[in-house]
Homo-oligomer: 404 residues x 2
């Protein structure tokens, strides 16, 4: 279910119509089931306005009536809920695998796929074709179910500009790939929005809605996928930056004497503490197997050896945890979040990573170290895909309604 951290308020005079539809939708998302009268009381809109807005939303099949409540005195009011079934919001995520998630308008998951991806060993063009194909298959599946697609958002581990072009995705070998344009063409120039965003941004949105710390106003999410990126929510809002490129924690230098990074610098957080770097250190016998296209088996092996007290694996995990704690301390000192959530492949390794990470965070925190926590995400892989689908619903809730 998708919930709003704060209650919506009615709009002022400009664009009253569209905006008040949005106020009702957002109220419904947070409080359904509810009656027309509940909506009027909570939003301050008058009852006849609410009735007409609700009628419009029912006609568009965004709301539906579900009968009567029993908990009232007098004639029971008709209760309303979001009408999920006719619609689908799609989120995709590109990492070592491709993930597709779809939810209906009410936020119920209606599709969840995870597919292998040769992205790390194929050309950007081949990779974009594979991504578009998965998106098209998801759309086709949902359309066959009789659903209207509300939008498709895709998360990529890299710098995504506001036009949806990927300026740099070092771990995929991409530079200046107009992914949004390619996807749009592959989907046949659809009438729904196709959006490309940074995977960490989408993952932190998912974490702030559905995670253990949902509703937290100051929250950072660190991706543990092919790279390390940070999604930052501060004061309840996603940090977007001037160019759309914030959260680039992966190339902060944490060890001037550290290994050379793919970016050409030395001792970047990614070169020291990424999952690939960890695997190389923890499993020295399997480090030269060639390009890793699915990190899951290696991560499982690291966990197995750690459970068996393998000293090499344990040392690698401690070093990685310490470097992560260093990176988190930088985020913490600059942004003062309540909690930093480690995601992706860091999750199954968290019991070994967190003690070293916490110790390093506390030793490097200027203040309030005790109040700050590093935790493992409860969302698992596909957090960014889930966040991507959520942003499609946000777009609708903001008043961009599909036609009836």
């Amino acid at each position: 279910m998708i919930t709003m951290p704060r209650g919506p308020q009615p709009a002022g005079f400009p664009e009253v119509g569209a905006t008040n539809l949005s106020v009702v939708l957002r109220y419904m998302r947070a409080h359904m089931p509810c009656s027309r009268s509940d909506i009027a009381v909570a939003t301050g809109l008058n009852k006849s306005t609410v009735s007409s807005l609700v009628a419009d939303l029912i006609e568009r099949r965004l709301l539906r009536e579900i009968g009567f409540t029993e908990h009232r005195i007098g004639r029971p009011p008709t209760m309303l809920v979001l009408d999920g079934s006719p619609y689908a919001a799609i989120g995709l995520e590109v990492n070592d695998n491709l993930t597709a998630v779809a939810v209906d308008l009410a936020g119920e998951q209606i599709l969840s796929w995870r597919r292998s991806f040769r992205g790390l060993e194929s050309t950007p063009s081949q990779a974009a074709t594979a991504i578009a194909a998965l998106g098209r298959r998801a759309v086709n599946r949902l359309v066959k179910q009789g659903r209207h697609v509300l939008g498709l958002t895709i998360g990529v581990p890299g710098l995504v500009d506001p036009t949806g072009a990927v300026r740099l995705a070092a771990n995929l070998g991409w530079r200046d790939i107009d992914l949004r344009d390619r996807l749009t063409r592959a989907l046949g120039a659809p009438d729904y929005p196709v959006i490309v965003d940074n995977d960490a941004n989408l993952a932190v949105i998912a974490e702030s809605r559905y995670g253990e710390f949902a509703g937290t106003q100051n929250l950072v999410y660190l991706t543990g996928e092919v790279g390390i990126g940070a999604g930052i929510i501060s004061g309840g809002r996603l940090i977007r930056g001037a160019n759309g490129f914030p959260g680039e924690v992966g190339h902060l230098q944490v060890d001037p004497d550290g290994p050379v990074c793919g970016c050409g610098r030395s001792g970047c957080l990614e070169s020291v503490a990424s999952i690939s770097a960890l695997v190389a250190k923890a499993l020295p016998d399997s480090a030269n197997d060639g390009a890793v296209t699915d990190l899951a088996p290696e991560v499982a092996e690291v966990a197995r050896r750690a459970r068996a007290q393998d000293p090499t694996a344990l040392k690698a995990l401690t070093e990685t945890g310490r470097a992560l704690g260093h990176g988190v301390s930088i985020l913490a000192n600059l942004l003062d979040p309540e909690v930093v959530v480690l995601g992706g492949y860091f999750v199954p390794l968290a019991r070994w990573l967190l003690p070293a990470a916490e110790a390093e965070l506390h030793s490097r925190s200027v203040s309030a170290a005790d109040a700050r926590r590093i935790v493992a995400s409860t969302l698992g892989h596909g957090a960014a895909a889930t966040g991507a689908a959520a942003t499609v619903l946000d777009h609708v809730d903001a008043g961009n309604l599909p036609n009836a």
Copy 2:
């Protein structure tokens, strides 16, 4: 003059009265002089509501009429402006000196004092007494002028919690000083708000209103006073963090082999690149003169030697610039600001600091390095005091109106 970056919009139903007074005040601040009709058109409030709100604000002496405009057809409307004269908003700043600034309601400066301060060589209690005395003198001066004090905000280089207690101000030797409480008592428990905030937060507010990059939505300000702190505006809003302690850039490690810092760690940005560290390196002959209570003469001497091509001074400035560039690159990679503004004593030294800082920033930026700039503030010392006074006006504009 104080201007708003974005136009205010009318409120919804809750607290309509107070909030709509605030809408009118904020519109006036951005667009005065203007007529009642201008206000009605721009805010969407109806004309009779505007007339009654304006009458209320005139009665409180927050607005006044200034006669007629000539640029209209038909009967010319009466023009309105903020009525600055009856009110005063006070900002104080604690650093190596004490600064006091006051502005009237219209944002015109009506007081500007800079006083020496023995804070770095006196006890916290003595320091608080000195600060309170300056605040009291400023209040007395303004009251003698017949002004009503709207509020007093004070900026401190340290961690300030939401109650106005200074949790840590390492460069002043303060820990857990309830400065707000002491000030309030020294001022005789006044009926106006007394607020304590971090100096960098207040300086970035000043920079975003009155600086060369006013209106920039993603802006960072680095204080160059007794310490180095960052004030961060992201997406048009000040980053406050979960505990009120963001922007602690001064104790990020930029050189693991660097000198031991006052905080006990090694190679912190402050230990490498603070004004004190720079002075010690650039003027090795005067480094052991004891506690520096006013950095201005030393900074002037560094500039003098740099102009004379003194190699020791130039080397110290280049090293400091490089370390600042490193610190700025961390802020830039995480927050993606359009511009980072160096303030305080960095300003008179900027021509020597900036080239090295820019080179370091660019070498460490993951992306968009060319679009990001480091510049020197044009506000000079007292930026935090100016920002402090501005926040008092914000409090009024938000609807916390003084009585008539």
